[in-house]
């Protein structure tokens, strides 16, 4: 009788330590995930190198993307700027900025009045859930921007192989 109680006690002790080890194992991927996604930049840090203090307003720029992107390696992203696109008033540059990617400036498009519409669609890579900013430079030197939160379940910067 005494023998069985002792083994039961030992079994309980073992299962308790196993549980601790299990919890420890879970803690490792959490820290690894933090490492693969870089530092989050603030909006000012993202846009100031381009605007350099010029007038900046959050209007006229609309971003379209899936709310939840499964694969960060390929996220369809559309940008529409409300602009008449005439000789006097048009969009000259369109910047796609990422908050978390190692390269903040994902792409720069140079447009002009011959485009008729300031509307660009492309596919970007995103290193994790973040805010994506589209910054448009108008022909008079002012800037307009729009932003969108995109949830990415699988970052583009983890190894695919």
């Amino acid at each position: 009788m005494t023998h069985t109680t002792a083994s039961r006690r030992r079994w309980l002790q073992h299962s308790a330590s196993l549980g601790l080890a299990w919890a420890g194992l879970h803690a490792i991927p959490a820290s690894a995930q933090k490492m693969e996604s870089g530092k989050l930049l603030t909006l000012a840090e993202m846009m100031h190198p381009i605007t350099r203090g010029a007038k900046l307003l959050q209007q006229d720029v609309t971003l379209t993307a899936p709310m939840l992107a499964d694969n960060g390696s390929l996220v369809p992203l559309g940008v529409q700027v409300q602009s008449p696109m005439t000789e006097q008033d048009h969009v000259t540059h369109l910047y796609l900025l990422s908050q978390r990617n190692p390269v903040t400036r994902m792409a720069v498009f140079q447009l002009g009045p011959w485009n008729g519409r300031a509307d660009i669609n492309t596919r970007v890579r995103l290193a994790g859930t973040q805010v994506v900013v589209a910054l448009a430079r108008l022909s008079n030197g002012e800037f307009r921007y729009g932003q969108l939160d995109i949830i990415v379940t699988e970052s583009a910067c983890v190894d695919a192989s």
């Binding site: 796609l96 140079q110 485009n115 008729g116 596919r123």
Partner: protein, 111 residues
């Protein structure tokens, strides 16, 4: 083999603002990923892509590693007459590519 493809709408009338879909075949290696042997793949992305329509530059893109492999660019252009669209691009390895396609524009039916 063509490394680029352009798609225009089926019917373009002069004066229309048409959507152009441009697809370029390129790996766009970021320089952060490893191959199967664990070696880093050097960065190789398109640095500059220029799209000309009838000799006039209509779009200039400077992509980075933030653009997905086989990049797709959809943009709009105002069509006035039948012209040739000429795409040129250059990547980090210094390789240049080009592609030409004619955009057929029907004359606008003025009453």
């Amino acid at each position: 083999m063509n490394l680029a493809r352009i798609q225009f709408p089926e019917r373009i009338v002069a004066g229309d603002v048409v959507k152009v879909r441009l697809l370029v075949q390129h790996p766009m290696d970021t320089g952060y990923l490893q191959d199967l042997l664990g070696k880093l793949v050097p960065r190789n992305v398109i640095r500059l892509l220029i799209c000309k329509l009838g000799g006039r530059e209509v779009l200039r893109v400077e992509p980075s590693s933030g653009i997905a492999a086989n990049p797709l660019f959809e943009f709009f252009v105002r069509a006035s007459e039948t012209a040739e669209m000429h795409i040129t691009w250059m990547d980090d390895k210094g390789q240049r590519g080009e592609y030409k396609q004619t955009m057929v524009v029907l004359p606008s039916s003025t009453p």
